[in-house]
């Protein structure tokens, strides 16, 4: 069930990180100022480890190459867990997972970049449409010219269209102007 979406997700993550690699740690620093996780773990796309809120239990542990001390700890884990000290439990957690839930779910400043790009493209589109209106659009049909629209409005007022709450109710028929 998770197969195809996760591989697409992983592909885009890999492509994106590769693209980011050119820009260095710049954008990542901007989005997550002061985050702690800059140690020398394996970074994507060189691992198969991907954890997210909707997929919290990845297939592989985070650290697969263990030094002697870590291997000894893994052996100790096979025994009774009450023998493990708090720090050993934390170390085992860090071997298994890259980040805690709190770290994984931390907020970021990405939304500012997103909104900035959205507004930028709004503006760009507005400029394009403006240019098109001047150089591309044909002449208005006769029914959209101002004279025709004025005559149309006068006819609707003569017919007293929507006289109770609508258009004709806003027109003052004695003074021949819109009601204040």
């Amino acid at each position: 069930m998770w197969g195809p979406p996760l591989t697409y997700h992983m592909f885009f993550r890999a492509a994106w990180s590769l693209a980011l690699r050119k820009g260095g740690p710049g954008i990542r620093e901007m989005h997550n100022p002061g985050s702690a996780a800059h140690s020398k773990e394996k970074m994507p796309p060189y691992t198969n480890y991907h954890a997210q809120r909707s997929y919290p239990m990845p297939d592989e542990p985070f650290c697969t190459e263990l030094n002697a001390e870590q291997r000894a700890l893994k052996e100790k884990e096979k025994g009774s867990w009450t023998q493990l000290s708090h720090d050993e439990k934390v170390a085992l957690y860090r071997l298994q997972f890259h980040e805690t839930f709190a770290e994984m779910n931390r907020r970021s400043n990405e939304w500012k970049t997103v909104m900035g790009c959205v507004f930028f493209f709004f503006g760009f589109t507005a400029l394009m449409i403006w240019w098109q209106r001047i150089y591309v659009f044909p002449q208005k049909p006769i029914t959209l010219t101002d004279e025709w629209k004025a005559q149309q409005l006068q006819r609707i007022l003569d017919m007293k269209g929507n006289p109770v709450q609508g258009l004709a109710s806003r027109w003052d028929y004695e003074k021949k102007e819109w009601k204040k």
């Binding site: 934390v90 709190a102 006819r155 003569d158 017919m159 007293k160 006289p163 109770v164 709450q165 028929y173």
Partner: protein, 77 residues
């Protein structure tokens, strides 16, 4: 950021759907009644009053004469 197990509250483990359903089903009644009451008093009542006021002293023949003078009819000039 080292939270020991003793300091964290245990989250609710069971009955999540039941809790969600109860909250929303029980809340749906006052919410919909409130919206209906608002629509009745903010929209329906004023509209009915506007129509009553408009037609209380409505001179339909005079209106017809005005429209005829404005020239919108084909068969009554």
């Amino acid at each position: 950021m080292s939270e020991r197990a003793i300091d964290l509250m245990k989250p609710q483990m069971q009955g999540l759907l039941a809790k969600h359903l109860r909250f929303h089903i029980v809340g749906a009644f006052p919410a919909s009644l409130g919206v209906a009451a608002f629509c009745k008093f903010a929209v329906a009542k004023p509209r009915k009053k506007a129509y009553v006021d408009f037609y209380r002293n409505y001179d339909s023949m005079g209106d017809f004469e005005e429209m005829k003078k404005a020239g919108i009819f084909q068969n009554a000039k």
